[in-house]
Amino acid sequence: MASRHDSQETPSDAGSTGLPDFGDNIDLLTFEQILEMDDDEDEREFSRSIVFGFFEQAEATFMKMDASLESKDVAQLSSLGHFLKGSSATLGLTKVKDACEKIQHYGAFKDETGTTEVLDKELCLERIKKTMVPLKQDYAEAEIILKRYYGTS
């Protein structure tokens, strides 16, 4: 299951688009798709609004996640993880997506890959808490890269 993202991380023919190297934070193939949708390559209005919309979405989700951790609402955490997984994956934020997926699984009383049941709620909460740290880090890195790309930082 985990290996299915391998192809995403294969380096794309980045030279053709003249995009900066986003490193392994952002999957270029996926992100390029969105850039291609921009009508104006200088303004990049569409992708910009998508990316910045995602920032808002992610930050709101993080706050909800923190609150859910407080209230130990694992189901809600799983749901939030899934929610952010979808949008981060669509943007190609691979690391953020992977972390979100883990949280989704933990919140559903599963192990990291979602294959084995984990009945210990505290263990699940603990794992979610641990995963939140790299999640926020990865997100912050991606945010910096993207904001630099859009020239707003």
């Binding site: 290996s3 053709s16 996926t30 798709q33 291609e36 919309g53 979808g86 949008s87 994956a89 669509t90």
Partner: protein, 628 residues
């Protein structure tokens, strides 16, 4: 006198009034000084002209005009008796006396009065007068009765016409129903055929290569019809067994015929409706319209998917002809439905293709060549995904409607919104995608594509069990999305042969995803020319598989999802695959594609892709070692 009077009363009726009055007057003895019978009783004499005129005439004839009395007498052929033989010329009754005489007017002979008639002109005159009066009224009566009769006839005709009309409508409905059944049957046949084809193809492959994958799939789906002859086919030949070929050729011919018939029938129904615009005839009208929309529900779950396709297929056949169907503004098929291609698009196609071929350059305007903008419902709770998905769809010339969750999607569809395809997220608040699909399937058969990152095989089988038609793994790629559109909306593609401008580009315009793709399109007819009419079968299969227990285990290992964990770019792995056989032109191909609407070229590509998908890794593995 009294006795004769009584007797006279009996005969009086037939005689003239005037004569009777005259007779009665003469019977009165008190007038004898003024007017009396002649001496011989065969005439009467007016003795005193003046007194007669003044006192008697008014009493009996209601006038006092002697001249008119004489005229009346003349009319009845009375004659004044002249006494010319006398020297003096004087009447024996006195100088002023007038004696009148009629052969039948005799004293004491009342019966003979009946013989006294008005003179010739007189009898003629009453006739004439009667005729003049009677004729108009008679004519009027005649005309009146004729009119009434005609009206009655008309009324009866109207009734009869209505009856016939009703029965005709019913017949038409029946006919349409029968036709639908025939189409369904045909589709079932095609499904069977396509199944046989896959089995056949696998059989052939196994006999040649016998790889581990083939073995595995064979165990789960034992060959149904194995033609011993196919074993002799040379390795380069990728032809299905000849019985299969024949069968599918027959089927495709039949298919075309049925569609043509259907078109005629629709024409008829429509003309019929139009001609009877004044008479409200909802039955055939609504039937044909419902046929478009609701027919699949009655077709049963096993054929819903394919049936919807066929239906839409018919639309593509009908529309370019320029037929105006009963336009239902609520019917999405009629919204934005342009029966002719947009002129600008033809120019965009090569361009778009070039851009994809030349590399991943900016290609925002990919035009898959729809006959009209497909109506897509995007059900997605995540705003980022929704926006990007919408943008992609928009760039594929689709009209997009979106729903926040399954509940909204169900409500939209239940409210009568018609879509060509639904892209459905699975995990959503309020109502998840699988439940929403299950609900929608109760009343609608629009293709529903699960759009999710949960793509383990048990997930996928659940999606299919609840009526989903396909799975688009998340995060979806532009190519993956376009592939889904082309796979499930083949009936909305422009007909390459029918439109001259499309001619040379027909193969390329279908798929712009890669050069290899178009290469494959060009070759695909040769790979399996006999499967023309079965292009949609893989989609159907996937739709069916959950409902038929037997097919389910067969489908699972075939589906791309099974191979997914191995390779994220599963959706693209089939693109670089090389054509199996060297191009061989088959003349009858064109013909068949013409007959069945020429959609095959498009669908051939789709089928091809599916074929590759279905056979998964086995396919790509076995292709590599093969030289050509």
């Amino acid at each position: 006198m009294d006795g004769s009077q009584a007797a006279g009363a009996a005969g009086a009726n037939s005689s003239s009034d005037f004569v009777r009055k005259l007779y009665k007057m003469l019977e009165d003895p008190s007038y004898s000084q003024v007017v009396r019978w002649g001496d011989e009783g065969d005439s009467f004499v007016v003795l005193e002209n003046e007194r007669f005129t003044k006192s008697i005439l008014p009493k009996h004839f209601k006038h006092s005009n002697f001249a008119s009395f004489v005229r009346q007498l003349n009319k009845y052929d009375f004659h004044k008796v002249r006494h010319n033989n006398e020297d003096t010329g004087q009447s024996p009754y006195g100088p002023g006396a007038w004696e009148f005489k009629h052969p039948e007017f005799k004293a004491n002979n009342k019966d003979s009065l009946d013989n006294i008639r008005r003179k010739a002109p007189a009898p003629r005159k009453p006739n004439q007068q009667g005729g003049e009066e009677a004729l108009p009224t008679q004519q009027m009566d005649l005309v009146n009765s004729q009119l009434i009769a005609t009206q009655q006839q008309l009324e009866q005709l109207q009734l009869r016409y209505n009856e016939i009309h009703m029965s005709q409508s019913m017949l038409m409905q029946e006919l349409i129903g029968v036709q639908k059944t025939v189409l369904n049957h045909e589709h079932v046949m095609q499904n069977v055929m396509s199944y046989l084809h896959t089995v056949d193809a696998r059989q052939r492959r196994d006999s040649r290569i016998g790889g581990p994958f083939a073995d595995a799939s064979e165990n789960q789906a034992p060959p149904v019809s194995v033609d011993p002859g196919q074993q002799q086919i040379s390795p380069l030949e990728d032809e299905p067994a000849s019985p299969l070929q024949n069968a599918s050729k027959l089927l495709s011919d039949l298919n075309a015929d049925a569609q043509l018939n259907y078109k005629n029938l629709e024409n008829m129904t429509e003309l019929h409706n139009r001609a009877n615009g004044t008479l409200t005839t909802p039955p055939p009208d609504s039937a044909s319209r419902n046929g478009h929309q609701r027919a699949p529900t009655s077709a049963g779950s096993s054929t819903t998917m394919s049936y919807a396709k066929l239906h839409a297929d018919r639309d593509t056949l009908v529309y370019p002809v320029g037929q105006t169907q009963g336009i239902d503004p609520m019917y999405s098929e009629h919204i934005n439905n342009i029966p002719y291609p947009m002129p600008s698009k033809d120019q965009e196609i090569p361009e778009a293709r070039r851009s994809t071929v030349d590399g991943r350059k900016k290609s925002t305007q990919v035009d898959p060549g729809w006959i009209r903008d497909p109506q897509i419902l995007l059900v997605e709770d995540d705003p980022t995904c929704r926006r990007i998905g919408s943008k992609f769809l928009y760039s594929f010339q689709c009209a997009i409607d979106s729903a926040f969750d399954g509940l909204e999607a169900v409500n939209k569809m239940n409210a009568g919104s018609k879509y060509d395809m639904v892209l459905m997220d699975i995990i959503m608040p309020n109502l998840d995608g699988v439940s929403a699909c299950h609900l929608i399937r109760q009343f609608d058969s629009t293709p529903i594509i699960a759009m999710t990152s949960n793509i383990r095989s048990d997930d996928i089988s659940m999606y299919f069990q609840h009526g989903m038609n396909d799975v688009l793994p998340k995060p979806f790629t532009k190519e993956g999305l376009l592939g889904m559109l082309e796979k499930h909306l083949g009936h909305l593609k422009k007909i390459p042969n029918g439109l001259d401008s499309m001619g040379p580009h027909s193969a390329q315009s279908i798929t712009q995803t890669s050069a290899a793709q178009s290469l494959k399109d060009a070759n695909s007819p040769n790979q399996s020319p006999s499967t023309i009419s079965n292009w949609h079968s893989p989609g159907t299969f996937q739709g069916i598989s959950p409902t038929t227990a037997g097919a389910n285990p067969f489908m699972q290992p075939m589906h791309p999802a099974a191979g997914y964990p191995m390779d994220q770019s599963q959706l693209q792995f089939q693109q670089p695959h090389t054509p199996l056989a060297a191009p061989r032109q088959q003349p009858h191909r064109r013909q068949i594609s013409d007959m069945s609407g020429g959609d095959e070229l498009n669908n051939e590509a789709k089928r091809q892709r599916l074929f590759a998908q279905q056979n998964g890794m086995a396919m790509s593995q076995m292709q590599r070692p093969r030289p050509g």
